[in-house]
């Protein structure tokens, strides 16, 4: 694909993936601006998570191009995509349950990623400072030395967001970051995400329309692997097609 270079942080053009003939994502194109929070919504099976899988390299695209800061991602391996500056949070919180919050963040710190460098990795003051700063942002300062398994569901979600933050990615992709959170935790998370957006660009998958309205700059509605509507949260909410397939019932 000879996609053109753009000023966008992320430019997805003509992206298609088919699983045994089923097109989970079908000729999809969208563009994300710098420091934008883009929320992707859509009914189950619309291909939301698959789009994130494609961007971060977990699934290989059948066709199309994904350009991140004008760098083609479809040819890169997963660790290389991470190094290029794309971070991904999974739908179910995946933190390392056998390790402490501190160790979780330490492993995510983008330093000494090869085997040999990991063998020689030393916890210096710089690393500890970064970890403590990140922990403060995700409201986990008090729990640094708690085993991650003992955190509440919401705290695990925060920890995983923190694990992305410490990587300092240009683009953060969050798959349902407030699923299973209490109302208070949701408010804190919304504040956290708006704070993050000052420095990073974000793609968020979310179902909760109230939360979407709270954080989104722009909403993309997916349906059967295609874009059904795109625009501001208010505009999308009023779109008759969106109401019919997604919001109406």
């Amino acid at each position: 694909m000879n996609a053109t270079n753009t000023d966008f942080v992320l430019a997805v053009e003509g992206l298609t993936v088919s699983f045994d003939g089923f097109r989970a994502v079908d000729d999809l194109s969208f563009y994300v601006d710098r420091n934008e929070i883009r929320v992707v919504i859509g009914p189950n099976g619309a291909g939301k998570t698959t789009v994130l899988d494609l961007i971060c390299g977990k699934t290989a695209a059948t066709q199309g191009s994904i350009k991140f800061m004008n760098r083609e991602l479809t040819k890169l391996s997963e660790p290389d995509i991470v190094k290029a500056g794309v971070g991904r949070k999974f739908q179910t919180p995946s933190v390392y349950t056998d390790l402490t919050v501190f160790e979780n963040l330490e492993i995510s710190y983008p330093n000494s990623l090869s085997v040999f460098k990991s063998l020689m990795f030393k916890r210096d003051a710089e690393v500890i400072r970064h970890i403590e700063e990140t922990a403060a942002r995700i409201y986990l300062s008090e729990l640094l030395h708690t085993q991650a398994d003992l955190l509440s569901h919401g705290q695990k979600q925060w920890l995983e967001i923190g694990m992305l933050l410490i990587q300092k990615p240009q683009l953060l992709m969050l798959d349902e970051p407030v699923a299973g959170m209490s109302v208070a935790e949701r408010t804190q998370t919304a504040a956290l995400l708006r704070e993050i957006a000052k420095e990073h660009t974000m793609i968020v998958i979310e179902h909760d329309m109230q939360f979407v309205a709270e954080i989104a700059h722009k909403v993309t509605v997916l349906h059967q692997g295609k874009i059904l509507a795109e625009g501001s949260p208010e505009k999308v909410k009023q779109d008759p097609k969106v109401i019919e397939v997604y919001l109406g019932h």
Partner: protein, 382 residues
């Protein structure tokens, strides 16, 4: 060194565990056992090397290899080939139709030393081969499997098949390998008779020394960030991958380390047993090695050594009395450990004895955590 303090490298409990094992192996066993029993203990310890490697691969890396016997065999055969060539001088073998080659080659009408035997005329090259050949073989398997993301049961079955293939190959190529009898009648190491009582003592202590070298290497790996990445991978491999790590490389690394340890163990076994045969390579011995590790505790390096000692002790006492029942007994031990003691003997210690021992240590040396070194606490790895 990648550690801020000694405490980061070894906790007080680790030091205690290493010290107790050292006293047992260096003082108590040599003083209480006669030379024949001590030689036997030395051979058990040779399996301890494999078990330590399995703690790294299986316990921490989550890679269950049912083919460690292959690496044990490669190390053991490398040593045996050197010793055999030394024993096969033209004078010793003058009655053969081709003097100067190992006897079993002559019986199989081979008239020239095969090319892959030639490096084993050199002691240095043989020592290198003991560590490097198993590592390279493990590397090739690792690249082929882990880069393709083969793991879990599939990996276990494939390694088991490799162990089976290896035995068939060794038995089938009698002229090159000594076949089912193995490589026997080994006599001297650089002119030093390895079959005397004195040699048994020396080899035992060499074996213990090397075992501690491997224990310290293992401890270093586990307490470095590699250890924590392994624990993280065991829980959520994708998360590690999307933190920018190449997961396969870490698996290859521990698998190769485990293979190198097994190779050293095999070589020490050959020296103490006086021969090497395919009966230490195949499927059954490979599974036994996993049981040593499981009984000792797959998260404990020191535990693995105890596992190797205990199971082998049971095998020689019970197994010699009722050889036909031993396999069943071993199967029962394995099932019992997996169901009742998932962390083996070391797990027992951690749940019942570690607390009181800590209290005693606190009274003797003051509290471990009083110096504010909270960062050195490692929930999962202790």
């Amino acid at each position: 060194m990648p550690f801020n303090s000694f405490r980061d490298f070894m906790s007080r409990q680790d030091v205690l565990a290493f010290a107790v094992l050292a006293v047992l192996l260096i003082v108590i066993l040599p003083l209480t056992l006669d030379v024949m029993r001590l030689n036997q203990a030395g051979k058990f310890l040779a399996f301890g090397f494999v078990a330590i490697g399995l703690v790294l691969c299986w316990g921490y890396g989550g890679i269950l290899s049912l083919g460690q016997g292959v690496f044990y065999g490669l190390g053991g055969y490398a040593m045996a080939m050197f010793l055999k060539l030394e024993a096969s001088t033209p004078e010793n073998t003058s009655i053969q139709s081709t003097p100067g080659i190992p006897d079993f080659m002559d019986w199989n009408r081979i008239t020239e030393l095969p090319w892959f035997w030639v490096p084993f005329e050199s002691f240095t090259l043989s020592l290198i081969a003991i560590v490097v050949v198993p590592s390279i073989f493990a590397y090739l398997i690792g690249v082929a499997m882990f880069k393709r993301r083969v793991s879990g049961v599939y990996f276990a079955i494939i390694t088991q098949s490799i162990a089976a293939i290896m035995t068939i190959l060794i038995i089938g190529q009698q002229g090159f390998t000594g076949g089912v009898n193995g490589i026997t009648d080994l006599r001297t190491l650089l002119g030093w008779d390895i079959n005397t009582d004195f040699a048994d003592y020396v080899l035992y202590f060499v074996c213990v020394a090397l075992l501690f070298v491997c224990l310290f290497i293992g401890q270093f790996i586990l307490k470095s960030k590699v250890g924590r990445v392994l624990v993280a991978m065991r829980g959520s491999e994708d998360r590690v991958r999307f933190s920018g790590y190449d997961v396969a490389n870490f698996k290859i690394f521990v698998f190769c380390t485990g293979a190198a340890f097994a190779g050293i163990g095999g070589a020490m076994f050959t020296l103490q047993e006086g021969f090497m045969s395919p009966s230490f390579v195949g499927v059954v011995p490979s599974i036994e090695m996993v049981i040593f590790c499981a009984v000792g505790g797959r998260l404990s390096l020191v535990g693995a050594v105890y596992g190797a000692l205990l199971v082998n002790l049971a095998k020689t006492t019970f197994g010699e009395a009722f050889p036909e029942l031993w396999l069943f007994a071993m199967g029962l031990i394995f099932i019992g450990v997996v169901l009742g003691l998932p962390n083996g003997v070391a797990g027992l210690y951690n749940s019942y004895a570690a607390g009181p021992v800590d209290k005693v240590l606190d009274r003797l040396f003051g509290s471990e955590n009083s110096d504010g070194l909270k960062l050195s606490q490692q929930g999962a790895t202790s």
